[in-house]
Symmetry: D2
Subunit: 355 residues, 4 copies
């Protein structure tokens, strides 16, 4: 019989008084490392962004990030008639609040040149004003002198690379030879560049993934396909600026966007293993065994290319339990390709499910 | 500089082939027990519901439930001109699928009388057809003979109790005296009855919370205030029908709906403790210490009535990290009332935060 | 300066007392006709659906439909062990409520055969029980005798047509020759069959689009790509059962699903014209003229293949105003293909924008 | 029978090339006037906002507004260490884009004083730099000299009026006496001040409603209770800056927020009439007449206090059709209070439904 009348509900929203609130990005640590969620490419009104620096921190806090870099353009400052150029302004405005928010604020800037070398982020610098120099060699040299990690940004950006295919110019090779490029963006904004994986393997560089946000994060990353900004997941020994930097120079990164996780197998494999747990069979009948696989992460996993009597494909939805029905006739181990965990330009993670 | 063109995204939805998918209800186990998420009050077309029994199982699976009971009315079968009365039909139609879905299917029925005693669910019965008897004493007696757990449903339902206030009639007391009422619904559909807590304490009964769904679960429980149906959380020794029943008779339940958790302090307190972890201070300045509290559960906690220099209130949002800024002058322990964890008719959980 | 404190908001949800509420499907009438939104393919628990008939009416009401047919399978009744077969049951259970809800209830049934002819809906019948006959000819003959409009369902359904391509068998041609097929589904559930347009043109049949729903409408049609079920838009002289039937036999239909509108140009063209209004230029500068186009409908329009100096493409989002900036150099009329208004198997609507 | 396989869907998002897209705010014109949707209280980084001026225009365009004023604080410029004070900067940066977007950009500024007079917006000024003066009388006088409409902002803001109750100080009365206050905010941000209606009636001023936004509009106004910012609806003879100003000085405004519409009966009544249409009865039986009321607006209407046999309350949901079942015994006209259309401090709109 249906209810006719509701008892009114007491529960109301409460005012937050002096407290922040921060989403838990459900991506696990791997043995030996903490997984720091980072965005190393962010703009503010101090170059061509629409947002005041402290609001970038608010966004990062809400998004559950551990580290960000604000990286306004050095050479492109279209607001300068109203806002005097001060390449360190965003840093100075956010430094104190970052500390109080448990966010590692990486001092950065975007060196903004035509291709080659294109756009380059200098991260972990100490003075962005010193990066106003004509020669690319001088400016990157100065950044390196300040201790910078050098990231080559969006190498396949069509404004600079009309076919959308990243190209390693001689200039890049010479910078790399000196240790003056340390990472390349695989993800940028809503784009990705498969070839970057090969570059990173060839030259032993870190894979990077960042938002390059100019507008409002919450307006951009609320699509069915992606509700988070791209992130660089840095596998650091602990959550400190020093550990972060050490891990980046050591190339211990995975990059994450939408439904994709990209990175070297040595990191992607234990990451997958931390996300997934396979339960004991909860039931069997004459033909089949029934079990559940729990994916305790924000990332779904699309397992494909199952062999013989095993299910052809298994989708392990994010933060969900998936029931798997296995024929008792299966003799071979359950081997799958994880379609959305990319471990090379043309390679995906291969996993074996044991139960 | 803004991106002009998107590289099209490869990721597409994949077809599920023979696999189910099940939400993780993020409510923790407590030491010594697994927390089984249950709904013991569900209708189908076999009484006055709109849904075929197997679809009830689909809904429960999707919602991440561990156990359900389909409890069609014994005495109220408005579809009988088209659907012959068979009180065991829903059970027979779902039994096999429940096993294959890792859901404990509790055989049940709703004894549907005017007040007193009102509506009563018989759970863990073996034959609902045997419950068609005139006398309340005969029908409850038969259910008890079958081993039933007897639940008194929606005692404050206005159709039967016009002022909305549950009333313990003499008949109820006599049933209880014989052990023939074992639990009472505190939550039903979208209602709740604070007085039920007192009844349960007085007579040592289990608190129950269920949906009493007649229509479509996903259409009913997608409000801003509640995205889940009401649930009885049974603290069982393991996930089996026997353990479930033992725990219910032992009164080891918490009930959950919207932002509210209701139950005896001995269970609510360890439940809260499992949800919350308090980090070490990550920063301090001259005046304050900064730390983070992680609420790793689907339930927010509203802490109020902070004393002296401590924050007056702290909202620990669900699945979130909350920053807390504490004055260094605080001498007293951080004691709070958890406004939405109800441990008595007029009582809420009191907690002390240690850091 | 930021506000500190909220004045609490008075507005609360009100209880609906004896009133229904019905969405406005914002799809316009065209000159001379009202556009009736219809779904002629719906299942209930009386064949293999999960929903009780009256709830189908609730769904249709909420969705703003003008007419529905419940069309349970004649030959496929898997619930028969518990629900005796009565092909008119759903009709009898919903007839009165339909009248009270301003929904035209079309008496229907699905003749469920292997291919050919596959599945066929008989609409506007008077007695579905009389359709239990062995021979296809007998059953369709009986339906026609009752005055039925005959709809060939999902001709490319892979369970019956493994390559997914609809095929006109000899049996279909012979039925059509007798006037015993009057329409074909172009949309069914989430599928569509471009070839059906050609069949309908060749044999002068009505294009049909329906949900074929077995589960819950609100759970199925809440995807980013489609928030409504497929609909047959019938261009009737007035909202009556007789006008509806007349229009269907006359082939005055458009079919609508997701972002697609499909139908003969003679109906699609005035429909587009009713959706769109082009404003006078609101501004001009040395180079350009600025104007706004209002799309006052739930359907977006994707205009492509603009020529010479005109914009290459214009997206007129649903229920939105779109600004168009036109170079003053444009000499040619603004001619576009409306990519998502399909007027033939390989043809889309061509429009000229006049301002 | 269920479908097994989906034909993949062609429909993809299209790139917007040089075109804008603008929501239709579905609030009707009234006879003789166009209803301009306006927000006259907006901040940017040039005072204490977080957003660059041109993005305010983007937000307004998306929200379907006809007119906005950017009104940065004159006396409160916390960003001045990095952004030199230029009170006209936001105006100069947005003027051209506003013209190209069909948005009337009202040149404005917020005179920011302690109470009394509190905060005051000067609208339709020509030079905000000239408003930097010590004396309130001098600054308001200068604004008036420039032709300004003077709006008293958030008179019940607790930072200045701790009990939250607006108070008309002697200074306000003297300003009003000179014609130097022309409107008062009834809605500001998420607050509202019932007493403002009385002030506006007493002194013949315009009711105003604005966002006072400092952060991101789309993040603030996406609550269950309100999906739009507060708006001043100006009933202008045509959509021009001159007509807008004329209507404001004439007090032809309604204010809108959440589910509330507030304004003088002479405007609220025809507005309601334009939203609602009552259909002819579509059905009757022995006891009742059935008809439909269409609410073709974004505003729901809560009709209460029905008398005798009429329904006690009728909720006309936004953009919906509501069925009304009327007893044939009803003799009296259908008179209701529209609970959410406020026509005085303690008065709501009274309507008679004729069918």
């Amino acid at each position: 019989m249906r209810k006719l009348i509701l008892v009114p509900f007491l529960l109301t929203l409460m005012v937050f008084s002096g407290f922040g609130q921060r989403k838990i990005v459900n991506l696990p640590d791997i043995p030996g490392y903490v997984t720091l969620k980072c965005d190393f490419h962010i703009h503010t009104i101090f170059s061509d962004g629409n947002i005041w620096p402290t609001y970038r921190l608010t966004e990062a806090y809400r998004d559950g990030l551990d580290a960000i870099a604000i990286t306004d353009h050095i050479e492109y400052t279209p607001h300068k008639s109203y806002v005097p150029v001060d390449q360190n302004a965003a840093w100075k405005l956010t430094e104190a609040a970052a500390k109080e928010s448990n966010i590692i604020l990486v001092h950065g800037a975007e060196i903004t040149r035509s291709m080659p070398p294109g756009h380059i982020n200098a991260l972990f610098i100490t003075d962005a004003e010193a990066l106003r120099k004509d020669s690319v060699w001088d400016v990157v040299g100065e950044a390196v002198k300040q201790g910078a990690f050098i990231q080559w940004n969006h190498p396949g950006w069509k404004a600079q690379q009309p076919d959308g295919i990243p190209r390693m110019y001689d200039l890049h090779k010479r910078l790399i030879a000196k240790g003056w490029i340390n990472g390349i963006e695989y993800f940028n904004e809503e784009e990705y560049y498969p070839l970057v994986f090969t570059f990173c393997e060839q030259y032993n560089l870190a894979l990077m993934g960042n938002s390059d946000i100019h507008g409002v994060i919450s307006e951009k990353y609320t699509k069915p396909d992606y509700t988070n900004r791209p992130m660089t997941l840095v596998l650091a020994k602990e959550k400190t600026a020093e550990s972060l930097k050490e891990a980046m120079f050591a190339g211990r990164t995975l990059v994450y966007f939408g439904n994709m996780l990209v990175g070297r197998e040595q990191y992607a494999k234990p990451f997958f293993d931390q996300c997934i747990s396979i339960g004991k069979p909860f039931y069997e009948d004459g033909k089949n065994v029934y079990l559940e696989i729990t994916n305790n992460s924000d990332l779904p996993f699309y397992l494909v290319n199952g062999v013989s009597d095993a299910p052809k494909s298994v989708t392990l939805a994010a933060n969900s339990v998936t029931r798997v029905v296995l024929s008792k006739k299966i003799k071979t181990p359950l081997v799958y390709d994880v379609k959305n965990v990319i471990t090379g330009e043309n390679k995906v993670l291969k996993v074996t499910l044991s139960y």
